[in-house]
């Protein structure tokens, strides 16, 4: 079962809504929790044990931290002024140990299940290269779907309790629901406890307004996923698997369309997820904010997979940047290199860690590490040349607000994103470079004129036209969103005939133009595998 499946949309979600609404308010959270466990069981079977373990574990660590904090507060109340600092330091140490243990347990499970095979494979290769006769046997572990997402939620919970941003929750049921809420469990968004836990617990009634609003968002998401993304699947897969059979121009089209597919798939599923939450009156954090209007790569990552970027910012970048060694380094460097380049050194170290983790989070392969490093280098380069760019702009009287300048920045960023996604999807880094080489050295569109591109790829001209119209449609919606136009408000403000026409249009576009059924292979949500 996945979010764009009929099983979810026609059976699971409506049944859950119905039972949820029939229950008295104080029991509604239980309906959501049971539904979430059923959903998780359907996608991961007995591996459900991992998320149950994680839930018990963060419940325990949260309370452990809380008990230390309460003990400290009690002592602080009774302590003399001069001894308070020492008490704080002592208890901070205690808390740090607990936090470290909690984080290590969660990271440990993720590392063993997701990365041990990759690490041992590389160790074996290294030993073979330097002729050490040691070889580890590699065990492939079954991984519960969504582990990369809920592990980050678990870590954020313990860390937030440690920082006393939130109170540790004594209620195991509430915590379990925060961890497993079914719409978010496969692909996020990576929610913080403060984002959703209380809303989930509240058990608000499903209102007609929420239902309409949620369904409209779900409809938009299904169009993106089933009509556009899934339609592109065979074409994109063929180009990436057999790139050596195609001209550079066609490979470039494949790379662009892969990025389109990934965006439509992931953001489409997010629309379904957030729309599902909306029906229950739950406001989940947004994961996309028109990423293809970004003027720089850093900006792109504040608009694409926002909750992952925010996690790395809050739980890796800031703690590292504000750590004592890096603070000292910044102070020293500022004196020698000045206000811009001084702090850049320590922030670059933190940035390196963020992008290494970001790359690795996506999967255990060198191509993902390369993907992370690619973005690190781009952002670092942007930071380094920023003063120079400012000088050149000033000398040439180029205004940053100028729309031509902005458009050129957007085009440049988009091209850099395409290249990044090329390495993201390529089987190996070597394949990625070979594809890039083909694009630049053998750029032609011969396959289009001979029609070969249509024969080989499971997509005919009409499919390309549908994809084209779909992209234009999503682009227009994105422009409106960028201009802060409330599209839902506009739709709901229309007369009933227009409103219903819009609803019917969405439903029948999905039914008629959806890439499902006998001529298509079902495509699982692309981010569920991470």
């Amino acid at each position: 079962m996945s979010y764009s499946d009929a099983t979810y949309l026609v059976l699971f979600l409506p049944l859950t809504i119905l039972i949820y609404n029939l229950m008295p308010q104080k029991h509604r959270w239980k309906v959501l929790l049971i539904a979430s466990y059923i959903f998780f069981w359907c996608i991961s079977k007995k591996l459900i044990i991992f998320i149950i373990f994680s839930t018990f574990s963060i419940h325990h660590f949260g309370l452990w931290l809380k008990s230390i904090q309460e003990e400290r507060n009690k002592l602080l109340k009774e302590a003399e002024k001069e001894s308070k600092k020492a008490i704080r330091a002592e208890y901070l140490k205690k808390q740090r140990k607990v936090l470290l243990l909690g984080v290590l347990i969660h990271l440990g499970i993720l590392l063993v299940l997701k990365y041990s095979g990759f690490a041992l494979e590389n160790l074996n290769a290294l030993f073979a290269m330097i002729k050490i006769p040691i070889s580890f046997s590699i065990t492939k572990y079954m991984m519960p779907i969504g582990i990369s997402f809920y592990t980050l939620q678990a870590i954020s919970y313990i860390t937030d309790v440690y920082h006393e941003k939130i109170q540790a929750d004594r209620n195991l049921g509430r915590l379990a629901l925060f961890m497993t809420f079914f719409p978010q469990i496969m692909e996020g968004p990576i929610c913080r406890y403060s984002d959703t836990a209380m809303q989930l617990w509240e058990g608000k009634k499903v209102t007609y307004q929420n239902l309409k609003s949620g369904l409209l968002r779900i409809g938009y998401g299904i169009i993106k996923k089933i009509v556009i993304a899934d339609r592109l699947n065979i074409f994109v897969q063929t180009i990436f698997e057999k790139y050596s059979e195609f001209d550079g121009g066609i490979v470039a089209i494949g790379v662009i369309l892969y990025t389109v597919q990934l965006y439509m798939d992931f953001s489409g599923v997010m629309d379904i997820v957030i729309g599902s939450g909306e029906i229950f009156g739950i406001k989940m954090p947004e994961n996309f904010r028109q990423p293809f209007f970004s003027k720089t790569i850093s900006e792109f990552w504040t608009r694409w997979h926002i909750t992952l970027g925010a996690f790395f910012r809050d739980y890796v970048f800031y703690p590292l940047s504000l750590s004592e060694p890096l603070k000292k380094l910044t102070t020293k460097a500022r004196k020698k290199l000045g206000k811009h380049y001084g702090p850049l050194i320590s922030s670059s170290i933190a940035l390196f860690c963020v992008w290494f983790c970001n790359g690795l989070w996506h999967g255990a392969a060198w191509s993902f590490i390369f993907f992370g490093m690619y973005h690190f280098v781009l952002i670092l380069t942007g930071n380094i040349i920023e003063p120079l760019v400012n000088i050149v702009n000033e000398k040439l009287h180029i205004k940053k607000e100028n729309w031509i300048y902005k458009t050129l920045q957007i085009i440049r960023t988009t091209i850099l994103v395409f290249i990044g996604e090329l390495f993201f999807e390529a089987k190996t880094v070597k394949d990625g470079f070979a594809m890039l080489n083909r694009i630049f050295t053998q750029f032609s569109f011969n396959g289009i004129s001979t029609g070969a591109i249509l024969d080989k790829n499971g997509m005919d001209l009409k499919d390309f036209i549908i994809v084209g119209i779909g992209i234009i449609f999503v682009y227009i919606i994105s422009i409106l969103k960028e201009k802060n136009v409330d599209i839902k408000k506009w739709v709901f403000g229309q007369k009933i005939v227009i409103r219903w026409l819009i609803y019917y249009a969405i439903i029948f576009v999905v039914i008629i133009l959806g890439a499902y059924g006998m001529n298509y292979i079902p495509v699982d949500p692309m981010y569920a595998g991470f």
Partner: protein
């Protein structure tokens, strides 16, 4: 609240009407591939003259790769048709049985048992239902090839399949059977929903004067002794005859070096003929099927 319910009812009614209209437009007007028909080999049954098929075979790819209706006609004058399609689940087998009985009166229905172990999502029966009632979901992609005839024409199935549902292949890809059909006492569990389908199927066949028979085509890749035990137990409990050809190799002589088209997964023509000869003899010895070879109404079979 009443207003909301009324609005929802009107909305759903209009939705249903549009679905019915669209279904009428996209449904293939003939049972040929060119007209857009899915599984045109299996759906060739739709064009067979009324009450001319005596044996119906259903199942997944193992069925249409192992049973050659023409061979049985040539030997015994018995008419049969294979309504098998790739990965056919039991809900689809049942659907083909219903479809066939609308125009035919087969006396024997043979179910190839590989499909008994196929698991399908909870929604599959609903898909099946929607396929039959609202074909827009199955044939939605036909918007690409619609013609004027689709808008105004009537459904008329006229395309007869010469192979009567058998899928011909003379490719040889040998296999090494290895542990194939190594004796075991264990039983492979059959999904409960599939057991229910079998019961419905049996009841329906009996009600329509037909006998349901299980047969398992030789497949060194798909079949195991555990599966045999599972199906045998089910067959015994329901009083259904079960012919497991995987256990009868001394009689049919499948040679895995030359009788498979894909390394033991499916039989090729050579292998299918061996299986069909055995099944033909079995059907003939039932003494309930007529030899139609001299009958002018069956001219097309000659």
């Amino acid at each position: 609240m009443k207003k909301i319910i009324l609005k929802c009812t009107i909305f759903c009614t209009i939705f249903l009407i549009i679905l019915i209209i669209l279904s009428h437009i996209v449904v293939p007007k003939n049972n040929s591939k060119e007209a857009g028909m899915e599984d045109e080999l299996a759906n060739g049954i739709l064009a067979e003259p009324e009450n001319t098929i005596d044996v119906l075979v259903v199942g997944d790819s193992e069925s249409y790769s192992s049973y050659v209706p023409r061979e049985i006609w040539n030997e015994y004058g018995i008419t049969s048709y294979v309504c098998g399609n790739p990965k056919q689940p039991l809900s689809r087998s049942l659907s083909f049985i219903y479809k066939t009985f609308k125009t035919q009166k087969p006396k024997i229905v043979m179910l190839e048992t590989n499909t008994i172990y196929r698991r399908r999502s909870l929604m599959y029966p609903l898909y099946e239902l929607s396929d039959n009632i609202l074909p827009i979901f199955k044939y939605h992609d036909r918007w690409k090839t619609l013609t004027k005839n689709d808008l105004f024409g009537k459904v008329d199935y006229t395309t007869i399949q010469d192979s009567k549902g058998y899928y011909y292949s003379d490719i040889i890809k040998s296999s090494k059977p290895g542990k194939y059909m190594r004796r075991s006492k264990d039983e492979r569990k059959i999904p409960k929903s599939n057991k229910l389908y079998i019961k419905i199927m049996k009841k329906y066949c009996e009600k329509n004067g037909a006998k349901l028979v299980f047969y398992s085509a030789p497949s060194s890749k798909n079949w195991t002794y555990e599966k045999h035990n599972g199906v045998q137990a089910l067959a015994d409990s329901l009083g259904i005859e079960f012919i497991d050809l995987n256990l009868k190799n001394n009689e049919i002589n499948i040679n895995w070096n030359e009788d498979s088209r894909d390394k033991g997964d499916h039989l090729n023509y050579n292998g299918a003929i061996k299986v069909t000869k055995y099944l033909g003899k079995y059907l003939y010895e039932k003494n309930i099927l007529t030899d139609h070879r001299g009958d002018p109404n069956y001219q097309e079979w000659n």
